[in-house]
């Protein structure tokens, strides 16, 4: 009976931990990432996930012509600087923040509407695997009304 109780508790914890981690991401995205969009207006979309060092995420979005956009990508304090790249449909890299001191924001405007991919990576830790860190990474967009 005791074993069954321990098993039930373990299963419950395993189920709840990812939920709790994701719930923290919302607060993190709202408090830390959204403010970096200012003076652009946050579009209201929410994209955040718990990533471990070495892991990647991708986002596909259409950006429209004659609109000013800001992309803001930020990671939890315990993570190293987040790397991101903007890639077009011909797989050309249009921007990488690696060349810009790992900037957390990028402002851009398109002459013609395009579908772009945003590739995000939490760089691998230099140390031992057990030093791998985990934390929230959020991708947010702002625009300026014309």
């Amino acid at each position: 009976m005791k074993k069954l109780f321990h098993f039930t508790v373990a299963v419950a914890l395993l189920t709840l931990v990812p939920l709790a981690a994701n719930a923290q991401c919302k607060g993190f995205a709202k408090k830390l990432c959204k403010v970096e969009l200012y003076p652009y207006t946050h579009d209201g979309n929410y994209h955040a996930a718990v990533l471990t060092t070495g892991e990647e995420a991708e986002l596909y979005k259409t950006f429209y012509s004659d609109t000013d956009y800001r992309i803001s990508i930020c990671g939890a304090d315990n993570l190293p600087d987040i790397e991101f790249r903007i890639i077009d449909s011909d797989r050309n890299i249009l921007y990488t923040n690696k060349d810009n001191n790992f900037s957390r924001i990028w402002d851009f405007r398109l002459e013609a509407s395009q579908q772009l991919k945003i590739f995000v990576k939490v760089p691998a830790a230099d140390g031992l695997p057990e030093e791998a860190k985990q934390g929230c990474v959020a991708i947010m967009f702002g625009f300026k009304e014309k």
């Binding site: 995420a57 986002l59 596909y60 851009f108 002459e111 013609a112 395009q114 991708i139």
Partner: protein, 290 residues
């Protein structure tokens, strides 16, 4: 810059302009989306209701309240599918009204969105405090836009983080279709040449591919599976529109810190196809609000 080529019904497609920019030209397809990925997380992002409304307004649209889904319809929505679709629809209507400074309408539509969110069990995304803040800031559009983006983020994050991503995708699709419906109605019977709103509608072919991926990701949900079938009809029309673009050149402006992505797009679409698109969007939206 976008060049729209309108080919007549049954006539040869106009190719002269596109021949001029054949160099480095790519026909848009789903290749970027079809890449095999090792990423832990893949996001498919649709224009939010707020961005949709902004795109319509910036294309020179006028305000027409008749196009919005009447708030009296809220009591008709009792299933998860209908409440999720209409949460998206009402949020787009709310955004549209707000961008045109229609304050009383905005408050009514925020209440309609609240009813949908409450029905879906979304806790605290839109509460009485939200409505009060909206009422207190009727003359401050920036604050109103911030309230709308905040409530939309709270709703979608609640659904995503409570293991209901399928419903979150349905909300987005509802909002996206509402934007297409408003824009295509505002075009009406007007000529489609040199029409900025028409360009915005055609641009949605790019987002439509993302709609399909987003739904495919959640197709185990029966409501999403049904929605995918509805969307396939729209796909046959979008497939008749060809968009090509020249190679993108990223030009940073060091003074403003804004990078301009220079390229030119060419759209090949007949008037007949555009009318077909308008009709299918109307049918789909009527289905969503019924």
């Amino acid at each position: 810059m976008i060049v729209v080529l309108f080919s007549g019904c049954g006539s040869d497609k106009q190719k002269s302009r596109s021949d001029e920019i054949k160099l480095d030209e790519t026909e848009l397809d789903a290749s970027l989306l079809d890449d095999v990925s090792s990423a832990k997380q893949i996001f498919y992002s649709l224009p939010s209701p707020l961005e949709t409304a902004m795109l319509i307004k910036s294309a020179g649209a006028t305000y027409d309240e008749e196009l919005l889904n009447p708030v009296e319809n809220t009591s008709n929505y009792t299933t998860n599918r209908s409440m999720a679709l209409n949460l998206g629809i009402y949020t787009t209507d709310l955004s549209f009204a707000s961008l045109f400074d229609q304050t009383q309408t905005s408050i009514r539509y925020m209440n309609a969105a609240k009813q949908m969110a409450d029905g879906l069990g979304i806790l605290d995304a839109i509460d009485n405090n939200t409505i009060e803040r909206l009422e207190e800031n009727v003359n401050n559009r920036d604050v109103i836009m911030d309230i709308i983006s905040e409530t939309f983020m709270s709703s979608s994050s609640f659904l995503t983080e409570n293991e209901r991503p399928a419903l979150a995708s349905i909300v987005l699709v509802g909002g996206w279709i509402e934007g297409l419906y408003i824009a295509s109605n505002l075009v009406g019977d007007a000529p489609i040449e040199d029409n900025k709103l028409v360009e915005r509608i055609v641009d949605q072919k790019l987002s439509f591919e993302i709609v399909l991926k987003l739904l495919e990701d959640n197709k185990d949900n029966s409501d999403v599976a049904g929605l995918m079938a509805d969307m396939n009809d729209l796909k046959t029309t979008f497939d008749k529109i060809t968009i090509t673009h020249t190679k993108i050149q990223a030009v940073p402006d060091e003074e403003s810190n804004v990078t301009v992505l220079k390229s030119e797009s060419t759209v090949d679409m007949s008037l007949e196809v555009f009318r077909e698109l308008q009709e299918k969007v109307k049918v789909l939206r009527t289905n969503f609000i019924s």
